[in-house]
């Protein structure tokens, strides 16, 4: 039987693992590993191994659907496109482009993100965003400001060269599992691993020094470490003098953060703070890995800046084994940001509030473009709740489950005049739509994805989409054309060649060069080999120097109170991914983690007469949900943990956001727990 092996990029996290799909008689029949891949070396986590299970799932959307009373009516693509054009076009005409919102998807390819963003802006709307808002928007803001580039500075495989690995707010063992092989390799050659997390995660098992901090006190910890490093003279003065500005102000700002004071705020023994600071500063090559435990806070941007400060004063950048590594959660969240599917940036991180940017893209696209930043994903929901946004086009995102304070978000989306959702499954958000468009999964389309290490890789089409489902690229082009724009792109490669012209970082990332392991941006021209390590020769900021931006500790927006005595922190588990629309439909994943649970410290549980496995009610000022209690020593007393893959968790989370990046504070919400009987 003829069997073809088609290389594709895994649809789950941002590590960028590739695998082959074996195709027989136009059906995807199996996965073959790819040992030559530079980040994964052929390995895959449980989600990657189960990826094919969603392709032929009976819940897949096969036809465009239109709301009819409480149910759905199947309609033709022509009718669907006409209705969408009428709905969005009508809102644009009646209320103006500012009243229409677009959510692009970090699960879509670079090409699709570019087109969705281009369509939104060509229609005059500045309101374009993607779910990076909910994961790494503080990295985009904070790292662009301090280091001049938002992205992992060093490749994943370079972690093996590190002599001290500081992991803060990341449970990479479960969420970016393939990174652990590189950490183990570094440990084999003597590296020290420091893990800071409110929870004893699987990642903490790898730690030599484990700092179990109180949720929301990261700035205090990082400033405390900077205090020790400055006080003990462990800074890299030569590096500071040559490559940075603002060091003096930092020295002043960390003066008060003595280990004793920081210990009081964070709950970490003072001695451990000192040990961690020394280990990081002294080592010849230290790297910092972080993810949502740093960003999903009302102090998210400050957290990121505090991390950059630490790396800068110790000179731990621009060399092998060093770096600041934000680990991205979705397979193309880096690419969606690079392509400008963000309220404040056009493609290539050109600022939306800069008239020069609008002028540049007006020339390129042949339309007048609005200047200024638009509404972010979270602001769009607020605006929808206030009636300022009247219509929305949502591609591959599920804000009804993934946004904080779900009942508020659901009310806001219900209130829209017109909502069209494009997805592969009937998500909670799609349930609320007027029109649902069936899209393609990763294996059913082609295009490029940018992994967390800035590696742009091409994913090939293995099979046809089910029923009448189409690729997002086709849908967006057809929709743009029916809205009066001219989008003539026959395939993804033709979009990529436009991106090559307009995004300097992607200048040399042409289709022909993307076979195999791809290229790492910045890659400005077709002869450029790509740039695996950033900042080797200074920074893309004024005078080539990085900016040290002092930050001060602010408590989280919500604290435990008499009525809500627990701090809820959220996160992911190994066998599920984000809002779970894919993994909860994957039999071999859902059977391993079938329901929502809440981890609670055994001593707290005993006081509440809760036993392991009890069904409990978790309530916050925003709402409540039921979950299965898991008694554990993984969380300290007063802290509880819930994964956000199931509807329910985000009923509880607070809508407080970071003032700059507008990311919600998913990681700290007050709640109470009681037995259900």
């Amino acid at each position: 039987m003829p069997q073809v092996l088609v290389p594709t990029v895994c649809p789950y996290c941002g590590a960028g693992c590739q695998f082959f799909i074996s195709v027989e008689k136009e059906r995807a029949t199996g996965i073959e590993y790819m040992p030559e891949h530079p980040a994964s070396e052929g390995s895959l986590c449980s989600k990657g191994n189960a990826a094919l299970e969603i392709l032929y799932h009976p819940d897949r959307l096969h036809h465009p659907l239109k709301r009819k009373g409480d149910g759905w009516a199947r309609i033709s693509w022509n009718d669907a496109l006409e209705l969408t054009a009428r709905g969005l076009g009508g809102a644009l005409k009646r209320f103006g482009p500012e009243c229409v919102g677009f959510l692009s998807s970090s699960k879509c390819t670079n090409e699709e993100n570019y087109l969705i963003e281009k369509m939104a802006r060509c229609l005059g709307s500045r309101n374009i965003d993607n779910c990076a808002r909910l994961c790494h928007s503080p990295s985009v803001v904070g790292l662009n400001r301090t280091l001049g580039a938002a992205g992992m500075t060093n490749p994943i495989s370079d972690i093996a060269n590190s002599k001290c690995i500081f992991i803060i707010g990341s449970n990479l063992a479960e969420n970016h599992a393939v990174l652990s092989r590189w950490i183990h390799r570094a440990r084999d050659s003597g590296a020290v691993v420091i893990v800071a997390d409110p929870r004893m995660t699987h990642t903490a098992w790898m730690a030599d020094i484990f700092l179990q901090l109180k949720p929301g006190t990261d700035v205090a910890l990082l400033c405390g470490m900077a205090h020790v490093i400055v006080k003990e003279g462990l800074v890299d003065s030569e590096y500071i003098g040559k490559w940075t500005r603002g060091y003096e102000r930092l020295v002043e700002s960390v003066l008060d953060y003595t280990p004793e004071k920081v210990s009081e705020i964070t709950g970490i023994p003072a001695g451990d703070i000192v040990r961690a600071a020394r280990a990081y500063a002294i080592s010849p090559a230290s790297s910092i890995l972080y993810s949502m435990g740093i960003t999903q806070h009302s102090t998210g941007t400050d957290n990121v800046q505090a991390i950059a400060n630490l790396a800068l004063i110790c000179g731990q950048l621009g060399r092998q084994g060093t770096g600041v590594m934000p680990l991205r959660g979705q397979n193309n969240v880096q690419g969606a940001c690079d392509m400008g599917a963000l309220a404040e940036f056009y493609p290539g991180y050109r600022r939306a509030d800069d008239p020069e940017t609008a002028k540049f893209f007006s020339c390129a696209w042949g339309v007048d473009l609005p200047v200024g930043r638009g509404l972010t994903a979270t602001e769009m929901v607020d605006a929808a709740a206030r009636g300022k946004i009247r219509a929305m086009y949502i591609v591959g995102e599920d804000p009804a489950n993934s946004d904080p304070s779900s009942s508020y978000t659901r009310d806001a989306l219900e209130g829209l005049d017109f909502l069209v959702v494009q997805d592969i499954f009937m998500t909670a958000t799609a349930q609320m739509a007027d029109l649902v468009l069936p899209a393609s999964a990763w294996a059913e389309k082609e295009g490029s994805y940018t992994s967390t290490e800035r590696r742009v890789q091409w994913s090939c089409k293995a099979i046809e989409p089910p029923g009448e489902a189409r690729s997002d690229l086709e849908i967006v082009c057809a929709l743009a054309n029916s809205l009066g724009l001219e989008f003539n792109y026959p395939d993804a490669a033709s979009v990529l060649s436009e991106i090559n012209q307009l995004v300097p970082q992607y200048g040399g990332i042409v289709r022909e060069r993307l076979n195999g392991a791809g290229l790492v941006w910045p890659c400005p021209n077709p002869d450029h080999p790509g740039t695996p390590i950033l900042h080797t020769q200074g920074f893309k900021l004024q005078d080539g120097r990085a900016a040290i931006v002092p930050v001060q500790y602010r408590p989280a927006a919500e604290e435990a109170s008499w009525e809500y005595p627990f701090i809820l922190t959220t996160g992911r588990v190994a066998v599920h991914h984000n809002a779970g629309s894919m993994t909860r439909r994957s039999p071999s994943l859902i059977e391993r983690e079938p329901e929502l649970f809440v981890e609670i410290n055994t001593q707290d549980a005993v006081k509440l007469r809760i036993a392991d496995g009890d069904e409990v009610r978790v309530t916050s000022p925003r709402g409540g949900t039921t979950a299965r209690a898991r008694l554990t020593g993984r969380v300290k007393r007063g802290v509880v943990f819930m994964p956000f893959h199931f509807p329910g968790t985000n009923m509880l989370t607070t809508e407080a956001t970071d003032p700059e990046a507008k990311i919600p504070e998913f990681k700290v919400s007050a709640c109470k727990i009681s037995r259900r009987d």
């Binding site: 199996g30 590993y33 390995s43 895959l44 449980s46 063992a173 004893m200 190994a574 071999s588 391993r592």
Partner: protein, 143 residues
């Protein structure tokens, strides 16, 4: 050559479980157990030298083939005695017995290639070399 596990590397991601299940038509032979809050341990077929499953199997469906404990599905009656006999609980049966075949027909077992943490190997020397290196490192660091 059974699959050796370096427990200090296991991260409890259950990739081996899902990979094994995937390549064996939905009937996997690996179980990852969470040992309290501090470790996870994948339980594999040991391919025991004196394999109790082969002793219990009265039809000879389970038998020793050099280092491997092999399984001949044609001879299996599905009696389930092997499941009772296995001291590690890795052989199980529904209508027939299911046990690790070290992914016959593949260059390497799927679990081993798939393991994101590099915790699995069929090389006994590697497993013991890593353990010695870890012990040496602990001495050098003074703990």
């Amino acid at each position: 050559m059974p699959v050796y596990v370096d427990i200090s590397r296991c991260i409890g991601c259950r990739s081996c479980e899902v990979a094994c299940k995937r390549v064996h038509g939905g009937k996997g032979h690996v179980n990852v157990h969470m040992a309290g809050d501090h470790a996870s341990v994948p339980i594999f077929c040991h391919h025991c030298e004196e394999a109790t499953c082969t002793m219990a199997c009265y039809t000879g469906a389970l038998y020793k083939d050099a280092e491997r404990t092999a399984f001949d599905v044609e001879k299996c009656t599905g009696c389930g005695l092997c499941q009772l006999a296995c001291p590690f609980g890795v052989v199980w049966s529904d209508k027939i017995a299911h046990k690790c075949d070290l992914c016959a027909g593949r260059e390497n077992p799927a679990c081993l290639v798939s393991c994101p943490a590099n915790a699995l190997s069929t090389d006994f020397e590697l497993a013991s070399r890593r353990a010695r290196a870890r012990a040496a490192m602990a001495v050098a660091r003074g703990r």
